[in-house]
């Protein structure tokens, strides 16, 4: 049984003539321990998709299933790293994480909870900023706090909405490796939303394109299976003979879908 499943999910916003369809008839099943990346251009509905997976937005039709059961309400078993960090500005880095940890792991003693938080702060290399407030951090640091907060709650599924998009190329690279190694250690199930095809290939077992559908809602394209050996590094992946054709195929698919949808919009 897949851990997380979408069945014929459609979602749009607004009513009447202002109605925009965003997702159309999506089917997706994610197995336990799998790392799935969803790639798509800006505005194709990636955040909407992850909100549906998390239970934050209920689909207009279709079902979201978690371990075979309908999962309409969000919960800590599906941790979300939000695109806009969503840190609480009046709490420090440690407190932001502690807030989540205290709620999810109430059986730990207080010192244990703090030690638990500090471990994850160290994991995203923010130990020097433990007692700073979000307003004192750079965008990339905030994103790392958000990541640490979600990791610290030890969710069954980790849903990440462009967690690295605000980072510079160098930091992005280190954090990609970091996330992959964290994942390889405890094989949590991950859904990563990204607009970077390289990132998707480096990190994921399956890359699924989200294709814009000429105003009738985006659809999921056919998945690309990435069969490179793990542990992967940027070098081993980019030098793999299958890498270039794979990347080319994904980009081709994304580009042609966009071209088609633009042409159709232009004609209509």
């Amino acid at each position: 049984m897949p851990l997380l499943e979408l069945r014929n999910v459609s979602k749009g916003y607004g009513k009447g003539s202002l109605r925009t369809e965003v997702l159309k008839d999506l089917n997706l099943s994610i197995d336990e321990g799998e790392f799935v990346a969803i790639v798509g251009y800006s505005g194709t509905g990636k955040t909407t998709l992850i909100s549906a997976l998390a239970g934050l937005k209920s689909p207009d039709s279709g079902q979201v299933l978690m371990q075979g059961e309908s999962a309409k309400q969000p919960g800590p078993d599906r941790g979300v790293v939000f695109q806009n960090y969503s840190l609480l500005p009046w709490l420090t880095v440690l407190e932001n994480i502690l807030f989540a940890v205290q709620h999810v792991l109430p059986n730990l003693s207080y010192p244990e909870q703090i030690a638990h938080c500090e471990k994850y702060i160290a994991m995203v290399k923010l130990s020097t900023a433990t007692n700073k407030r979000p307003s004192e951090l750079s965008g990339g640091m905030r994103q790392r706090v958000s990541l640490a907060r979600t990791l610290a709650t030890q969710p069954k599924v980790l849903l990440m909405d462009e967690p690295l998009s605000a980072l510079d190329a160098l930091t992005r690279g280190t954090l990609q490796n970091e996330i992959v190694s964290i994942w390889e250690r405890d094989r949590r199930t991950v859904v990563l939303i990204t607009n970077d095809v390289d990132e998707a290939i480096l990190m994921a077992d399956r890359v699924i394109p989200l294709l814009p559908g000429n105003g009738q809602g985006s659809t999921l394209g056919k998945p690309f299976v990435v069969e490179f050996d793990r542990p992967r590094t940027r070098e081993s992946v980019t030098h793999h003979p299958a890498y270039k054709p794979l990347k080319k195929a994904i980009i081709q698919l994304l580009l042609s879908a966009r071209r088609e949808s633009q042409e159709l919009v232009a004609v209509s």
């Binding site: 998390a54 239970g55 934050l56 309400q73 969000p74 919960g75 800590p76 599906r78 941790g79 979300v80 939000f82 806009n84 960090y85 969503s86 609480l88 009046w90 709490l91 420090t92 440690l94 407190e95 502690l98 807030f99 989540a100 709620h103 999810v104 792991l105 730990l108 003693s109 207080y110 010192p111 244990e112 703090i114 030690a115 638990h116 500090e118 471990k119 994850y120 160290a122 994991m123 290399k125 007692n131 709650t153 030890q154 964290i182 250690r185 405890d186």
Partner: protein, 319 residues
């Protein structure tokens, strides 16, 4: 650099305000010169000097009863007014915060009560005062001990100063970003925790703006209410001096009213700007805790005192 800064501070905070005050004093002198009455050889509007000499006895020992001479110090009168303000204002904000949360958080509540609030808000304290009197009459039927005029003042203050806090709290609740609520939803917070850990801290800056505005109104209202009730307090003092034709102490009291209002506003301004400090109290505790722990772990020189984690299956913090 530093001396320039000092000079600027002196000019901004001492020199320029002094010039402004001097202008006002000049105008005051002109006013008393212009109202000079030949027949009584005094001004209808007392000059600053007459004002001071007439009212000095009220300032000499401001906090004492002078029963034998039949007057109380001005500080005592201010203190009586402040007590009533404190009670009325306290009642107002205690009621205003929950009402504000309901108004900002519940669409239905807002639909029900927003029109009423808009009608009640502009009612003058002078109109509230007799209404408050009716309620006091009813209360006194059951308990004769209660000081009727004081209670009437307190009710009037409460009714007039409640609105800024209600409205600002509601604005604060409506301004809470969806992001914070998403975090709460993913963690499945109970409604109590949602309120105490997210809604309340997110609204506190708005609430404190409301508190400051409410206190300003409370101070405006007490003077009016005491003038109507006419027993004790600084408002009654002004009225009594006016009725008995001793205008010097009256003017002095009016100035003191302004000064007290100014001090109250500064005070609330300071509190308002440090509202987030209140929110950081938990972080201070955590930091203290961390310090204690790092000290104790140094003392043992091993890591034994660092608590070990129960959840061993989760990953290590290796680089």
């Amino acid at each position: 650099m530093n001396s320039i800064k000092l000079k600027k501070m002196f000019v901004d905070n001492v020199a320029l305000p002094s010039i402004g005050i001097a202008f006002c004093m000049l105008f005051w002198c002109f006013l008393s010169w212009a109202t000079w009455d030949e027949s009584t050889s005094s001004s209808d509007f007392p000059s600053p000097i007459t004002t001071w000499s007439d009212s000095a006895k009220y300032f000499a020992s401001p906090f004492s009863h002078n029963d034998d001479e039949g007057f109380d110090g001005i500080g005592l009168e201010i203190w009586r007014s402040l007590k009533l303000v404190g009670m009325g204002y306290g009642m107002a904000i205690l009621a205003a915060v929950p009402i504000g949360f309901l108004l900002g958080g519940s669409y239905r509540f807002a639909r029900m009560f927003d029109p009423i609030f808009q009608i009640l808000r502009p009612i003058s304290p002078l109109a509230w005062f007799p209404l408050a009197g009716l309620i006091v009459i009813a209360i006194r039927r059951h308990n004769k001990e209660i000081d009727a005029t004081q209670l009437q003042c307190i009710f009037t203050i409460a009714m007039c100063s409640i609105w800024p806090t209600i409205l600002n709290t509601a604005v604060g609740v409506r301004a809470i970003p969806q992001d914070y609520l998403n975090v709460a939803k993913v963690l499945r917070l109970s409604s109590f925790k949602l309120f105490s850990r997210i809604l309340l801290p997110a609204t506190i800056p708005y609430m404190f703006t409301g508190f400051r505005l409410s206190l300003g109104i409370a101070w405006l209202v007490i003077v009016a209410a005491e003038m109507l009730s006419g027993k004790s307090g600084i408002g009654a003092f002004v009225n009594n001096q006016y009725q008995s034709g001793t205008y010097g102490p009256m003017i002095a009291a009016v100035i003191v009213i302004g000064l007290v209002g100014f001090v109250l506003d500064r005070l609330m301004n300071g509190i308002e700007r440090n509202a987030t400090l209140i929110l950081s109290c938990p972080s201070l505790v955590i930091r203290l805790f961390q310090k204690m722990r790092s000290q104790s772990s140094n003392a043992f020189s091993t890591n034994e005192s660092v608590p070990t984690l129960i959840r061993k299956e989760s990953c290590d913090a290796s680089a």
